[in-house]
């Protein structure tokens, strides 16, 4: 019996040795540590692709990478505590406050913006123009015919605006009041719920105006437009006298912003080169849009999309690794 055990152990060790990886003999200092770097995977195609590109690139330098699933907002708690290391990008439009708080704590490093301008606002599929002629200009939403077409049993006689979760901090009720729109906000409790409602409505061609953003797969997949508002100005949110409604704030469009890279501050010492790569990491919006399209419309796995991009764009990423 004992012999058998001995043989088996020997077998395991042997087979392990035989298949021991050759390892990448990169430059002597890098990687500074074999401790795995935990890279957050949020589950959105666009963000997954970005994180996969980064992760696969630093793997080339010999780092151990662990892709760790986490929730969008919740990840910053994990990054602050050092349980996660490289955060999925935070968007100005939805995570501004959380990001500011995380950066202020000193536990999370601001690694700069990725280079992708993001846009989040009221969005509609193109066929809505038939019932609300004059779109994308917001004034089209004032027309009674348009309001009637957009109303549902829960909001009657008002029109429905389908928004994201309350905690995303959309200022729609304020805007609706300031601009005299006959709309009621219905909040979806999660991004999944928002997408489900919106896409189902699009498929049955029901008129709908909903919260959406770019880069994201819904505007990439279905033809539609963002509503245009009086241009945003800082004063618009603070100063009631600014804009068309002299008594209220929020009578304008939404501020645009960027996608921010964040990382656990303690990791700077452990993997300086990997952090350096993350700082240099840049993608433009057009490329990001194409990558998202490849994944969501053509159905290519996000990791494969990332690997393809790496294979085809050596000249772009080579300087980051140097």
């Amino acid at each position: 019996m004992l012999k058998l055990i001995q043989k088996l152990t020997a077998g395991i060790v042997l087979s392990g040795l035989i298949f021991a990886s050759s390892g990448l003999t990169a430059n002597a200092a890098v990687p500074e540590s074999k401790e795995p770097i935990k890279v957050v995977m949020m589950g959105y195609s666009g963000d997954n692709i970005i994180m996969f590109i980064y992760g696969e690139l630093i793997k080339k330098l010999g780092y151990n990478v662990e892709y760790t699933p986490a929730d969008y907002i919740g990840q910053f708690t994990g990054v602050g505590a050092g349980d996660l290391h490289i955060a999925s990008p935070g968007w100005d439009t939805t995570a501004k406050a959380v990001l500011a708080e995380a950066f202020a704590s000193g536990n999370v490093l601001n690694m700069g913006d990725i280079g992708i301008a993001v846009n989040e606002d009221w969005w509609y599929p193109l066929y809505v123009k038939e019932v609300c002629p004059g779109l994308p200009d917001w004034k089209a939403l004032l027309e009674p015919g348009c309001v009637k077409a957009l109303s549902v049993v829960e909001t009657e006689p008002k029109a429905r605006f389908l928004s994201g979760p309350i905690e995303w901090g959309g200022t729609d009720p304020e805007r609706i009041a300031a601009m005299g729109l006959d709309f009621e906000v219905i909040n979806a409790g999660s991004d999944g719920a928002l997408a489900a409602d919106l896409v189902a409505a699009i498929k049955r061609k029901q008129p709908i105006v909903a919260w959406s953003w770019e880069p994201y797969w819904i505007p990439a997949l279905y033809p539609g437009e963002f509503v245009t508002w009086p241009e945003f100005d800082d004063a618009c949110y603070d100063d009631p006298s600014w804009g068309m409604n002299s008594k209220m704030t929020h009578d304008c469009g939404r501020p645009n912003g960027f996608m921010w890279k964040a990382a656990w501050s303690g990791g700077e010492k452990v993997w300086p080169k990997a952090y350096d790569v993350w700082r240099k990491f840049k993608l433009d919006a057009k490329t990001a849009g194409e990558l998202v399209y490849k994944s969501d419309v053509d159905g290519v796995d996000t990791k494969v999309v990332a690997e393809q991009w790496i294979a085809e764009n050596e000249s772009t990423w080579k300087p980051w690794l140097e």
Binding site: G16, P69, G74, A81, G189, S190, G192, A193, V199, A200
Partner: protein
């Protein structure tokens, strides 16, 4: 029957003080409502009276995380330490099954051992099941493993298994220990019973933030959260089973000269083993219920697959992963039941080590053998992509078809419910004065259980108002109340039919088992697509999940009515309908009420899930707290949900006791 009559007569003669109290409370409530300005404070709880409980709790958690010290080390170091102990076995299993082992040198990987081959694991598990002697189960288990392999979910399933198995084992172990402790010492029981109530009814999102802070973002926090939720039933069942044990068993143990330790572990626990299996089943089911939420805080696995697929509206893919979760639950449950059913065999000759360990050795040999062969035949080490298939498109198309062709009817249905049921009920609930509700609940408590229950109900319900969550609590009560009503309306008749017809019973069993283990997310997204965001959708999702106990308990309750009573009724010339209405239903009523109680509990536990649809209730409060990383806010809302559950539970149970006594049933 005599008892019933005489108590009825008494009721007529003497005014029942409990009923009077309820009447008075209602009248006072009406007076309050009629004076909206004069008695404004009694209608809407004044903002200035709100106690900042959530701030206190936040401060407490922050103190715990940042400053609390246990002398040699801080509290956080302590919890983190526990976290890494909890993590260790999971990490080992994860390496064994999914990632393989890596031994790192200074700059290079020294040794890399591949994970076990899928074919090897399947064969090993197949061998193990076969040794239990149930051929149908063996085929089922092997098919399940092949399903997850060929649907392309092998790695995720193994990841889920790795964390689930450890959580289940710890849950069972600590459950049994806590159960024994509360059986032995009344004082422990006094503390644990209400603690368990809170653990079971507090929505998970409520304590997720503190758990993340203390145990770190990752599998350890996920496991702690899972254990909080899944351990109480095991402890309760252990305690109850020990309490119901014949005194003869204990006597026998004493006579045989057992020490205290031996008495517990070699006499008492083995003799309640069959009953404990109910607890084991519950631990497994509840642990798998938590898979999705655990995946959101870094546990990964099948839960993450479901979540990610549904975010991109790949319903079919989500369903495939969801079904894998259900199948894993069933496999674990059946295997554990089979193991438990094995009676110890008395053998005169002790089997040799070789005989005893033949099966485990064989399993290890098969698993490792396949893994080694897999290094030359990659198809054995990992399922090739070209072998996998997906039914995803099929399900997506079905939903699309219903959405496009059936929307007119669906919309009419939704409109009807909204206009005639949801909207008026919600309006009514929100118009109730808080003070009136507190008084009526206390009066009901008095009527059903005396002064103690009255105080309990009054104080608990009052607490909700004092923390300033009255409106969200009322929306929660309204939503769950409507759902319990509908679930009972649909579920009780189904249970009645299933009780009378074995074939229906079998079909219903499969459906309700699936509804209970299939993660609610899987059907939440299709339901949103068909019914769009709103309370109606939340209602559909809650009813689907909460209808299970309404059916199960009714079925069970009616089957339990003794055949003698039915025979007697038949001999008296009752028709089948009469037997049902006059004999079976009244006698099964206490059991049915317990089912409705469970329906209510499950409905409340769905609040967090439906908040993801967009309801403005206590569930939403916990979600907001989660995203704002505000531990106190989440816990406060969680306590309110628990309060609703506990108050309802106590009142219903008191009613059931009263009823059972009147019917002359066992009032234990």
């Amino acid at each position: 029957m005599d008892v019933t009559k005489s108590s009825l007569q008494q009721n007529k003669l003497r005014l029942n003080p409990g009923l009077v109290a309820i009447l008075v409370a209602i009248v006072v409530s009406l007076i309050i409502t009629s004076q909206p300005t004069l008695l404004a404070w009694a209608n809407d709880y004044p903002k200035s009276w709100v106690l900042p409980v959530s701030n206190y709790l936040s401060d407490f958690v922050k103190w715990l995380v940042n400053d609390a010290s246990l002398g040699l080390f801080t509290f956080k170091e302590f919890t983190r330490g526990i976290g890494s102990i909890l993590n260790a076995p999971t990490l080992f299993l994860k390496s064994l099954l999914v990632t393989g082992f890596k031994i790192e040198g200074e700059t290079q990987t020294l040794l890399q051992i591949p994970p076990l081959s899928w074919l090897g694991v399947t064969a090993a598990i197949g061998l193990m099941t076969a040794s239990l002697g149930d051929r149908r189960l063996t085929i089922f288990v092997v098919l399940v493993f092949l399903y997850v392999a060929f649907i392309g979910l092998w790695d995720s399933t193994m990841l889920t298994l790795a964390s689930i198995i450890v959580a289940v084992l710890i849950g069972i172990g600590s459950g049994v220990l806590l159960g024994i402790a509360s059986f032995k010492w009344t004082i422990v029981d006094r503390v644990l019973t209400p603690t368990f109530d809170f653990m079971q009814t507090m929505p998970v999102f409520a304590y997720l933030v503190p758990a993340l802070m203390l145990f770190g973002y990752g599998p350890a926090a996920a496991m702690v959260v899972t254990l909080i939720y899944a351990t109480p039933p095991m402890a309760r069942i252990t305690k109850i089973s020990l309490g119901q044990l014949d005194s003869e068993t204990v006597e026998y143990g004493r006579m045989a000269g057992c020490s205290k330790h031996q008495l517990t572990w070699e006499v008492l626990i083995p003799s309640i083993r069959p009953r404990l299996m109910v607890g084991v089943n519950q631990v497994i089911m509840l642990t798998l219920n938590m898979v999705i939420i655990a995946s959101l805080i870094g546990a990964g696995g099948l839960g993450f697959d479901v979540w990610q697929a549904l975010k991109a509206l790949r319903i079919g893919q989500g369903a495939e992963a969801g079904i894998a979760i259900t199948l894993v639950a069933i496999v674990l449950d059946r295997l554990s039941q089979q193991f438990a059913a094995r009676r110890p065999v008395h053998q005169d000759i002790q089997p040799s080590a070789a005989q005893r360990y033949r099966l485990p050795m064989l399993m290890i040999a098969v698993a490792i053998g396949a893994t080694i062969i897999g290094q030359w035949l990659p198809a054995i080490s990992q399922v090739p992509d070209s072998w996998t298939f997906s039914t995803g498109k099929f399900w997506d198309n079905i939903i699309d078809w219903i959405n496009i062709n059936g929307y007119e009817y669906i919309d009419g249905f939704r409109r009807f419910f909204f206009v005639y049921l949801l909207k008026p009920t919600k309006g009514f609930m929100l118009s109730l004065p808080w003070l009136g509700v507190v008084m009526v609940m206390a009066a009901i408590g008095y009527h059903l259980g005396g002064i103690r229950l009255a105080v309990l109900a009054g104080v608990l319900v009052g607490f909700i108002a004092t923390v300033g969550l009255w409106e969200k609590a009322m929306i929660s009560v309204y939503l769950v109340g409507v759902c319990v009503f509908i679930a009972s309306l649909v579920g009780i008749p189904i249970g009645v039919i299933a009780a009378g017809n074995q074939r229906v019973h079998n079909i219903v069993q499969v459906i309700i088992d699936t509804l209970q283990t299939l993660p609610s997310f899987v059907y939440l997204i299709p339901v949103i697509m068909l019914f769009s965001v709103g309370e109606f959708t939340a209602m559909v999702a809650i009813v689907m999940y909460a209808i299970v106990p309404a059916i199960r308990y009714t079925d069970h309750g009616i089957r339990q009515v003794s055949t003698e009573v039915i025979e007697a009724a038949r001999a008296m010339g009752c028709t089948r309908m009469q037997i049902l209405r006059r004999v079976q239903l009244p006698l099964a009523l206490p059991e049915i009420m317990l089912g409705i109680n469970q329906t209510l509990m499950m409905g409340l536990s769905m609040l967090v899930i439906t908040a993801l649809v967009g309801t403005r209730d206590l569930g939403q409060e916990t979600l907001i707290a989660l995203s704002k990383v505000d531990p106190g806010r989440g816990v406060t809302a969680g306590i309110c949900v628990a309060i609703i559950a506990i108050t309802a539970d106590r009142l219903i149970n008191a009613w059931v006791q009263q009823r059972k006594m009147k019917l002359g049933l066992d009032g234990k």
